[in-house]
């Protein structure tokens, strides 16, 4: 039996803008099992990033509960590592210093020279072995995200939260980064996999990486459907995309996304 690492129940989130309160998420409920890779997809404005900031501990919900290992979530915590779309790294620290700084925050027992060794090891893993002394501004967007992933993995947190980490990367490099993340997360099967919540608007990205996909709808932002991804691991993109099952599964997800959008447009037309 798998245990639930993260339990989200009846989550409601409001945010205020110009003194007006908006409802971002209503009655969102789903669970993430230990070692599971879950993607949250949805059109822009459906509150998927808001959902992640609640998990990060940056934003307090208006109602409902979020539990990690059965305990109510309060603020940020060192059992969660985060990769943002932008500014995950501090621009005034070199790439390696950034990773060492992350390790220092998350793993208090690791000594200074040990941190340096771990940082080098993870820089190698993401293909940045030569770039440890560079500042983030000297790296391309894709390399910055590699470094951010290296830091999140080096921190060795049980949970990884990723907020559209590849959205600002060009299409070609995005594919490379997805495969790198897949490879690092799947590992060789001997190590325990991390629990991941991954927010994206890219359907193919979600299918390639996830065990389970949570499809959100907007207005109100809530769960439309939770779909299990039926493909075997380890996955290889070239083989996966050629299969009929992939095409069918993809169409089903598209329909879930677009039905929602079509309903909304239809609804507005009636009003007009």
């Amino acid at each position: 039996m798998t245990t639930n690492k993260i339990e989200i129940k009846d989550l409601t989130v409001n945010y205020t803008e110009n003194k007006r309160s908006f409802n971002a998420l209503t009655n969102v409920s789903f669970n993430v099992a230990d070692g599971e890779f879950v993607s949250v997809i949805g059109a822009s404005g459906c509150g998927k990033s808001t959902l992640l900031s609640v998990l990060e501990g940056l934003y307090a919900p208006a109602g409902g509960s979020v539990k990690i290992d059965g305990e109510e979530l309060h603020g940020t915590g060192s059992e969660r590592g985060v990769v943002f779309q932008h500014y995950s790294l501090f621009p005034w620290m070199t790439t390696k210093k950034n990773i060492e700084f992350g390790i220092k925050q998350a793993r208090h027992d690791v000594k200074r020279n040990e941190r340096s060794k771990i940082a080098d090891e993870f820089l190698q893993k993401v293909g940045l072995g030569e770039f440890g002394r560079k500042y983030p501004s000297q790296l391309s967007g894709g390399m910055q995200q590699r470094a951010a992933i290296a830091r999140a993995l080096a921190m060795d947190t049980q949970i990884l939260l990723m907020d559209e980490p590849f959205s600002a990367i060009d299409a070609k490099n995005r594919v490379v980064l997805q495969e790198l993340l897949l490879e690092l997360w799947e590992g060789d099967g001997t190590e325990k996999r991390k629990t991941v919540v991954f927010v994206t608007h890219d359907i193919d990205e979600a299918i390639l990486l996830s065990d389970k996909i949570v499809v959100l709808t907007a207005h109100p932002g809530t769960v439309n459907e939770i779909v299990n991804v039926p493909f075997e691991r380890p996955r290889r993109r070239e083989e996966l995309v050629k299969t009929d099952e992939y095409g069918k599964f993809r169409s089903r997800l598209l329909a879930l996304l677009y039905n929602d959008i079509a309903e909304r447009i239809g609804g507005e037309e009636v009003v007009l």
Binding site: E56, L58, G77, S78, V82, L89, P91, F101, S137
Partner: protein, 306 residues
């Protein structure tokens, strides 16, 4: 770079012209110290020729040559107008050789005065920075008082620090402490304001990044907020530094017994305009030297910026 680009430059022609001008007979009845001028010009020429052999970037070489060329042109015109044709009043306008000679002769006195001025400036400036930066960090970081502090700072920084001088004289025992006090005030407010606005303008995403890493309060302030606000802090420091020199020399002219402002004021009171001009030029070189070093420090600490 080719030999032609490196060595065959207009600057060197200007150098030759300057030397040729010195062959003209002197018309001024005063001693014009042509030897000192020639020695200085040859000195500059040797330096740029040696530098020409080592400078790799064409832009830097051009910059150096252009500046030297400008210096030669000014020295030539100055020399012609004073020593050679005596078209300017030679009481008010000493020849360039005379000023250079005076500088060499007075070098010990000038050295003492420069050190005194620099010591006073650095003391006031550093005390201000050491207090203003941490204070600005704490107050800017606490959102509650940040807004009010911005207005209060605006009020105090709008008072030209020079008007504190008479009050400072009444308040403090020595003239040096008055200078330090006024420089402190002139630096404190812009650095404090710069630090606060730097803190208030730190990108929210950077703060979020620190939060999700669970960085402690003190570490957030000094390892995240401080570096993120650093370029604005330097803006305040630069402003403070440039005002400091203006204030210092003004203060020294009012009542000090040493310092470069005192040197200029003292000798112009005696109508010794050779020393006055020498003093002016030395102040120019000192200020540019300090500014240069400060910019080096700034570029080093902000090297992570694109």
């Amino acid at each position: 770079m080719s030999f032609v680009k490196r060595y065959l430059r207009v600057t060197h022609i200007l150098f030759a012209v300057l030397l040729l001008i010195q062959l003209l007979p002197d018309k001024s009845v005063k001693e014009v110290h042509t030897g000192s001028l020639i020695a200085a010009a040859v000195g500059i020429e040797v330096i740029i020729l040696v530098a020409s052999a080592f400078i790799k970037k064409e832009k830097s070489l051009e910059l150096l040559l252009d500046i030297a060329g400008f210096v030669y042109a000014v020295l030539s015109a100055w020399s012609l107008a004073t020593a050679k044709f005596n078209v300017l009043n030679d009481l008010l306008f000493p020849a360039p050789g005379t000023v250079i000679h005076q500088f060499v002769e007075d070098r010990d006195k000038i050295g003492i005065n420069v050190l005194s001025s620099l010591g006073t400036t650095l003391q006031g400036f550093l005390i201000a920075v050491v207090i203003a930066v941490p204070l600005g960090l704490f107050i800017g970081w606490s959102a509650r008082v940040g807004g009010a502090a911005t207005y209060i700072t605006k009020f105090f920084s709008s008072i030209p620090p020079i008007v504190y001088i008479p009050y400072g004289i009444a308040l403090l025992p020595t003239f040096r402490s008055v200078s330090v006090f006024v420089i402190f005030l002139a630096t404190f407010w812009p650095v404090f304001a710069g630090t606060m606005s730097g803190v208030l303008n730190v990108d929210k995403r950077i703060i979020d990044s620190a939060k999700v890493l669970n960085v402690g309060k003190a570490e957030t302030l000094f390892r995240v907020i401080l570096p993120a606000a650093l370029s604005q802090i330097f803006l305040g420091c630069n402003q403070g530094l440039s005002v400091s020199f203006i204030l210092l020399t003004s203060a020294e002219m009012i009542g000090a017994r040493d310092g470069m402002g005192y040197y200029v004021k003292y000798y112009s009171d005696f109508g010794d305009y050779t020393r006055t001009i020498t003093g002016l030029l030395v102040i120019g070189f000192v200020v540019i030297g300090v500014t240069f070093l400060f910019n080096k420090l700034q570029n080093h600490l902000l090297r992570w910026k694109r």
